[in-house]
């Protein structure tokens, strides 16, 4: 059954593309009609997503800077602010020291009592010198926090793959021992699992704590900040900036769809829940989303992800040069798209769970399938197959009314996309950090013009990595975890 579920998304994506391709060769008129329906669907969907993006943007800018800590102090029901302990877990593998230092510095500068925060630096044994590096970090920041723990995840543990989830799980288990030893009740502990480049907003922990305290179902909820990839935005190539800003926008859009919102990348949750679901998966790559599904299955569907109103700032994946950045971006997006493995995981879980309503199961699986199949196909269809259909149609059926109207509707799509691009440009402006010295003002022109790369980028760095991931999963050629290179300060690694 697992293999069947692994095959379905890739099969559907390939079927869609091949069917379109064959149809447009042999039945161009039928293809044109299907294309018109498809393009209408995407115009409506893009408009809907633009509304969500605008709403999410409004929600963020109006709530990001409210006095979250004061609001926490006003909550009188148990547990109260003083009861809460934060575990901040950083999974670290070969990230440069300055990247880690900036991440810890952002926590140090956040508006939250540091004596309630325990940092866990989770290194890997396969990285030589890891312990020494983390020890020097600990020495530098030790006095700023309640405690700093260092864990080194052993290599080659049976049943594990070398991935972030395995490291995070090992570190979380060690942290659990620490909490027991220090008699800290786990139900009052919030764990935040961060990538090494995650720099938090100054209000992150107070906002997180407020939402944790006020919510009665706090143990059946993950907390998801929206990731803004801007730490090295002035050093990254245009296409990489657009790509990552697109990821931020996607998270913002998803954050408005509460009922289908799931965890992604850096996120926070109740430590008690983490222990109850037996931590992050250690044998799968997409640990960030799978932890949500583990909790969802554990609580029989009564589990959700709350979209936090504050951001975390992360690095844009860059390589040594332009072409290397394309390679790095492609691999990163392929790893994200590997989240398609969730479909098989969730499908299997739903088969075992009889308490979740059938409607809910079908809805969730359809959403997962729709997300991944759309991701792998729509940009290829719009960027390549639609112009090919028009070209081919003009060659063989120049005077066909349907093909004439298809090109007309296609131009409407482009105009709609233009409107959405203007929206993206204006919203992206909010997330751009101040221009550092030595960077020309001309870069702001680039920040606007870069959005014109969207059609190319969405097909090449959007759909293709996703199609690649789905094909690998379909053929049983499983992906291994690739740590994304992080670079800051003049591109130094």
């Amino acid at each position: 059954m697992k293999r069947l579920l692994e095959i379905i998304p890739g099969f559907l994506s390939w079927f869609t593309l091949v069917a379109f391709f064959l149809l447009f060769i042999f039945r161009p008129i039928v293809t044109a009609v299907i294309m018109i329906i498809f393009l209408m669907y995407w115009v409506c969907r893009l408009c809907y997503m633009s509304v969500l993006l605008a709403l999410a943007h409004h929600r963020v800018i109006t709530k990001r800077n409210i006095p979250w800590l004061d609001m926490c102090q006003k909550i009188s029901s148990k547990p109260v602010l003083d009861d809460i302990v934060h575990i901040v877990l950083y999974t670290i593998y070969k990230e440069p020291q300055e990247v880690l230092e900036e991440s810890l510095k952002s926590i140090k500068e956040s508006h939250y009592p540091k004596d309630k925060m325990v940092l866990v630096l989770a290194g890997e044994e396969r990285e030589s010198g890891s312990l020494g590096r983390l020890t020097s970090l600990k020495e530098k920041f030790d006095k700023d926090f309640k405690d700093i723990l260092i864990t080194i995840h052993p290599e080659n543990i049976i049943g594990e793959i070398p991935a972030k989830g395995a490291n995070a799980t090992y570190a979380a288990k060690k942290t659990y021992e620490y909490l027991l030893a220090h008699k800290i009740p786990v139900e009052n502990v919030i764990i935040s699992c961060f990538d090494a480049d995650t720099c938090v907003d100054k209000n992150y922990f107070s906002c997180l704590t407020y939402n944790f305290l006020k919510n009665p179902k706090r143990h059946q909820m993950s907390f998801q900040p929206f990731p803004v990839y801007s730490n090295n935005i002035y050093r990254a190539p245009s296409f990489a900036r657009v790509m990552e800003m697109g990821s931020t926008f996607w998270q913002l859009i998803e954050s408005m769809r509460y009922e289908k919102f799931i965890t992604f990348s850096s996120h926070s949750m109740s430590f008690k829940t983490l222990v109850e679901v037996d931590y992050w998966p250690v044998e799968l790559i997409s640990d960030d989303s799978l932890i949500f599904w583990k909790c969802f299955l554990k609580y029989d569907g009564d589990y959700r992800t709350y979209p936090l109103e504050v951001p975390v700032f992360m690095d844009i994946a860059v390589g040594k040069n332009f072409f290397d950045t394309i390679r790095v971006q492609y691999k990163q997006k392929r790893r994200w798209a590997w989240g398609v493995e969730n479909f098989a995981f969730v499908g299997e879980g739903f088969l075992r769970n009889n308490k979740i309503a059938l409607y809910e199961k079908i809805k969730r699986l359809s959403q997962l399938l729709d997300n991944h199949v759309s991701w792998a196909t729509w940009a290829i269809i719009i960027t390549f197959i639609t112009p090919l259909t028009l070209f081919w149609g003009n060659l063989i059926l120049k005077d066909s009314l349907v093909l004439f109207n298809l090109s007309y509707i296609n131009s409407i799509i482009l105009n709609t996309s233009g409107f959405i691009l203007i929206l993206c440009v204006s919203i992206s402006h909010v997330f751009i950090p101040p221009r550092p010295q030595g960077v020309s003002r001309f870069i702001y022109v680039q920040f606007v013009l870069q959005w014109l790369l969207i059609p190319f980028i969405s097909a090449v760095l959007g759909s293709l990595p996703s199609l690649d991931a789905q094909t690998r999963l379909m053929l049983g050629k499983y992906l291994y975890f690739n740590a994304t290179p992080k670079a800051r300060r003049n591109g130094k690694k």
Partner: protein, 308 residues
């Protein structure tokens, strides 16, 4: 704004876009195929369209003598299948009328160039008696070479610049007997049935006017002249002979081919330096084609000259 308000707005956006998709898509699909509701017959009828492009743009379109309010480029949609009279009108241009048959689910295309009523007429500002002109194609546009009572001139196609080549009046009779004109570097070569002449184009009007140099004269008839062989030779078809004439040294003339028939035709391909000849086959009444590569002949000739 409260979370509930975001939720309500989101739901509203969802249902609005869903509504638009569900209700608008079938209508657009049917409309794209060509269906249109006809209130008169209360039926859906299949229609076609006419796409009109014109040069210049902004032309008013009349269908069956009725103004449509459309200006070109435009598309006339939802037309029932039948014959339509399309009239295109624009001030300053002749009206254009055309019958167009509209077929169901098909596009009838019109791509029309309108002819202006008023022409922009410009007279040469000098009072010359112009006998004859030739168009001389050059890399950066065309030049007009004309022969007049005041001499030979080169004029830009836009009449902006004029350059005097010679003050000599060749006379109306001689000029009208000219068969062709070619430019070789800064020299003009022109010919009639008996003679070939050459004249150097002066650098400016202030230079001393050069003489017209006779290059070749024949008692027979010059039929065709080509400039070829690295632009160094004139390939001349005169009578039954084809010969090459060195432009820089008109005394050097050497035969290329001897024709069998007065009816023979030649063509010289300057790109491949090849001469094509249609000529009668010896001892036969039929004609054949001959292909002659001239570059090797010239090389042989030069080597021969060196030896001698």
């Amino acid at each position: 704004m409260k979370e509930e308000t975001y939720f309500i707005l989101r739901k509203f956006a969802f249902w609005m876009t869903s509504f638009v998709f569900i209700f608008l898509t079938p209508m657009i699909v049917f409309y794209s195929i060509g269906y249109k509701f006809d209130p008169a017959s209360s039926k859906f009828l299949k229609t076609g369209l006419i796409s009109i492009k014109t040069f210049p743009k902004g032309v008013n379109v009349l269908v069956n003598a009725q103004k449509t309010g459309e200006t070109t480029p435009c598309v006339l949609r939802g037309l029932l299948p039948k014959k339509y009279t399309i009239v295109l009108e624009k001030e300053g241009f002749y009206s254009y009328e055309m019958q167009v048959y509209v077929r169901p689910s098909f596009v009838s295309e019109m791509d029309i160039v309108l002819v202006p009523r008023e022409k922009n007429i410009e007279k040469l500002k000098f009072n010359f008696n112009v006998y004859r002109f030739f168009i001389n194609k050059q890399f950066f546009g065309e030049k007009i070479v004309f022969f007049a009572d005041k001499g030979i001139y080169i004029l830009d196609a836009d009449f902006k610049n004029i350059q005097k080549v010679s003050s000599m009046d060749l006379g109306n009779t001689l000029v009208n007997s000219l068969e062709g004109l070619k430019q070789y570097g800064n020299q003009l070569i022109f010919w009639n049935k008996k003679n070939i002449w050459m004249i150097e184009i002066p650098e400016s009007d202030l230079d001393i006017m050069p003489d017209i140099i006779p290059l070749y004269e024949t008692q027979g008839e010059i039929k065709e002249v080509f400039l070829g062989m690295k632009d160094r030779y004139l390939v001349v078809h005169a009578g039954l002979n084809i010969f090459a004439l060195d432009v820089q040294n008109p005394l050097v003339v050497f035969p290329v081919f001897t024709l069998q028939s007065q009816e023979a035709k030649i063509f010289y391909d300057e790109r491949t330096e090849t001469l094509f000849v249609r000529d009668s086959v010896p001892l036969s009444e039929s004609y054949s084609l001959y292909r002659i590569e001239l570059v090797p002949i010239i090389q042989e000739k030069k080597e021969h000259e060196k030896i001698t």
